[in-house]
């Protein structure tokens, strides 16, 4: 397992650090929010990310990507987490790209090319209820003519309203709760009987809902093998959770560092508040937890790249740990900032909001603790 970055990775990380700090800092998120930007992301930024190779970080070279792997994607996500950057990276370049590259077919290849080129946003529609529950999928796809007809509702679909296509997880067989019978479909935004609703979220990042009222797709819209989508899904969710963990690491670390900087300046009762030992111990504990988090994230990301059989499990473990610790970083931050932290003027509240969303996506800490126990047979 790679717990240290190699030279390429270090360089990528530094590049990403500079890029997002300059091009997509927190002020950019505020701008998107305060101007009620209709797209909810910057197209110019996304184009630049494509040029840098970021959009195609997981796309095979044959389709114009740089194919650098999960560790690279995680390093990018970490920096986006630090800057709360709002981009279609996670939906498109992580979730959908992983789904597409694990499905054969020309359609998949065509969309991978568009992703790498920054020409298409592809959302990944999996969740249906209040909590993440992939096997609970109820959306149905029934044979219809040469193709399929899809009916169901999807929530928490990141970048739904700006997506050119959606990858929709639906049942071609089996019952909710079962692993068998899941299939993945590519649904273009122009499809009939498809309603897309943008939902404005607490973190001011893009999300939405899909209503599929008998959406007709042709046979080639089926990605991979009918009824065996769960295997592809494992890869998508494994990569997704590991990358979300990396983004949580970035957001949590940034919240922590800004908090430490603040308590080094703020005075109360004639003392710098960072002099108070109670705060020092809490900060030191959090530092330690964040160090554990970094190890967990690196392990989860590198396991994917190494094809480790435990990769999906590690991703879940990292997600459990990161959700918990990043939340602690946000909560300690908001408390230590005190009154000013409650104002919209300071950034710590934005971190609190973003971390709440990130930790919920693709399964929260409780979900993954339970999953971990099940995985280990207890």
């Amino acid at each position: 397992m790679a717990l240290l970055l190699n030279e390429d990775e270090k360089m990528l990380s530094e590049t990403a650090e500079g890029f997002f700090k300059k091009k997509a800092p927190v002020t950019e998120l505020r701008k998107l929010r305060d101007t009620q930007d209709e797209k909810g992301y910057s197209e110019a930024l996304w184009s630049e990310m494509a040029e840098m190779g970021f959009a195609g970080v997981l796309v095979p070279e044959d389709q114009g990507g740089v194919d650098m792997g999960a560790m690279a994607a995680g390093l990018l996500a970490e920096q986006m987490g630090r800057n709360l950057s709002a981009t279609p990276f996670f939906s498109t370049s992580v979730l959908s790209a992983t789904a597409l590259k694990n499905s054969d077919g020309d359609l998949a290849k065509a969309w991978l090319e568009k992703i790498a080129g920054g020409e298409a946003i592809v959302s990944f529609a999996i969740d249906e209820g209040v909590k993440h529950n992939p096997l609970g999928t109820e959306t149905r796809a029934e044979r219809s003519g040469n193709g399929f007809k899809i009916t169901g509702s999807k929530v928490m679909v990141l970048d739904a309203h700006v997506a050119d296509a959606h990858i929709v997880v639906a049942r071609t067989g089996g019952e909710p709760g079962e692993r068998d019978g899941l299939s993945l479909f590519l649904v273009e935004k122009t499809a009939d009987n498809l309603d897309v609703e943008r939902t404005i979220m607490v973190d001011s990042h893009n999300s939405g809902r899909l209503e599929l009222n008998g959406v007709e797709v042709t046979a080639d819209a089926l990605l991979g093998t009918e009824g065996e989508g769960a295997d592809v899904l494992d890869k998508v969710l494994g990569a997704g959770r590991a990358v979300l963990s990396a983004e949580l690491l970035g957001a949590g670390s940034q919240a922590f560092e800004e908090t430490v900087a603040y308590i080094k300046e703020r005075k109360q009762f004639g003392k710098i508040i960072g002099e108070f030992q109670a705060l020092q111990h809490r900060a030191s504990h959090l530092y330690t937890e964040l160090e554990l988090c970094r190890s967990a994230v690196f392990a989860a990301l590198s396991a994917i790249d190494e094809g480790d059989e435990n990769a999906v499990k590690f991703a879940g473990m990292a997600k459990a740990k990161l959700g918990q610790v990043a939340k602690l970083a946000a909560l300690e931050g908001i408390q230590m900032f005190g009154g000013v932290g409650m104002t919209d003027e300071y950034d710590i509240g934005l971190f609190l909001k973003r971390i709440r969303v990130l930790q919920e996506l693709l399964g929260d800490g409780n979900y993954h603790l339970d999953g971990f126990a099940k995985e280990n047979g207890y």
Partner: protein, 392 residues
């Protein structure tokens, strides 16, 4: 029949006759409250009539003396009145920092002229007050406030800035801590002033919070002239009035979780459902059970401390304990509610989420452990006054 029994029957009859039907439904939100004041627009005739009738009886401030607009009721009679109001779900006729905070302070520390001038207007809802305590650079260290009031013979000249002044943009008058002396110990040299928010040099700007809408303001004072007879108590002795009011506030905030009655497990079950009779998320189930038992033990502790206080013991620093635990517990409750609400809880706008009500409420709870003295300050107080640890 006892006097109290007679009072109960009379009260019931009067309420039956005088409380408009519209005022007998629970308030749906803070927006339904009546705050009164010079610029108040009544939401309905019923709201206006209800306030006037209650104020006429002295029942907006039932235990205040009659000469100051109250009804001179005993605590026991007040309890009867509140019970009878609750019986018909009558709304409180007037929400007011004047009633909750300034009134008690004036009754204790004000001179006769001040009481006569201000208390009846508070009782009738004619003047709306706000509180000028916190300052940007002071924070938890309230006593290090810097807003200066210079003695100019017949008036004070006030310069400085307050923050977290609730509804300062809507209030008519402010009760305000100012520094009249900066040479000695910081707790000395603080004075307690009252003045009109329409005075020249006063400006209030609402603060935008992480939860969005906010009643809080930043308030600026530039060469504001305040007549000297608007000083409450002695010059330089304002800190004791402030402390008196802070204890009041702490108890109010510590108990703020009290009214919330819907059990967490019902909320959670409503959102994520049960499987074989158990919450479908076993890990959340454990945390909910733990929180519910803590809520039970906390409610009991509130009751016990109140009972002790009634029995004559002073609540003292135990109010810090209640404030600390109550606010931390309420934050925990909202974290768990957010966990249970999952994706739905993350919405910020739109009808489905009632404009992000849960998310905004959740964010709002983060202030619980900051306002009215941070959790850290409460723990310091317990260390010092209860455990008597050295150097605390």
């Amino acid at each position: 029949m006892s006097d109290l029994e007679t009072f109960k029957l009379e009260t019931r009859a009067w309420l039956e006759e005088n409380c408009p039907p519209e005022m007998r439904t629970p308030m749906k939100s803070e927006d339904d409250a009546c705050w009164g004041g010079r610029n108040w627009t009544f939401a309905s005739d019923a709201q206006k009539v209800w306030l006037e009738r209650m104020a006429g009886k002295g029942w907006t401030v039932p235990t205040w003396p009659k000469e100051y607009g109250g009804a001179g009721l005993s605590r026991a009679e007040e309890a009867v009145l509140l019970k009878e109001m609750a019986r018909i779900s009558a709304r409180i006729p007037l929400s007011s920092f004047g009633i909750w905070m300034l009134g008690p302070a004036l009754l204790k520390f004000g001179n006769e002229a001040q009481k006569k001038e201000h208390l009846p207007k508070i009782a009738r809802g004619e003047i709306r007050w706000c509180q000028g305590y916190s300052e940007p650079s002071a924070g938890s260290d309230l006593a290090s406030l810097a807003t200066k009031a210079e003695d100019k013979g017949d008036h004070y000249l006030v310069n400085g800035q307050k923050v977290w002044t609730s509804y300062a943009d809507k209030a008519d008058w402010i009760f305000c801590l100012v520094r009249t002396d900066s040479t000695g110990r910081k707790h000395d040299g603080i004075s307690f002033l009252l003045f009109d928010m329409e005075s020249e040099g006063v400006e209030a700007r609402p603060i935008s919070l992480i939860s969005g809408k906010s009643a809080f303001c930043e308030t600026f004072f530039e060469d504001v002239k305040v007549p000297k007879d608007q000083l409450v108590g002695e010059v330089g002795k304002g800190w004791s009035i402030a402390k008196y009011l802070l204890t009041h506030e702490r108890e109010m905030i510590g108990g703020s979780g009290e009214g919330v009655t819907r059990p967490l497990h019902e909320i959670a079950a409503g959102s994520i459902g049960l499987e074989s009779g158990k919450l479908s998320d076993p890990m959340l189930r454990a945390k909910v059970a733990e929180a519910e038992i803590d809520e039970w033990a906390f409610r009991l502790t509130m009751q016990r401390k109140l009972a002790e206080a009634k029995a004559g013991a002073s609540l003292g620093a135990d109010s810090s304990m209640l404030k600390y635990y109550g606010t931390e517990l309420n934050k925990r409750r909202y974290e768990l509610m957010m966990d249970a609400a999952g994706h739905d809880g993350l919405e910020w706008e739109g009808e489905r989420s009632d404009e992000g009500k849960l998310a905004r409420d959740w964010l709002r709870t983060k202030a619980n452990s900051i306002e009215g003295g941070t959790s850290e300050v409460q723990l310091n107080i317990i260390s010092k006054h209860i455990l008597q640890l050295p150097g605390a």
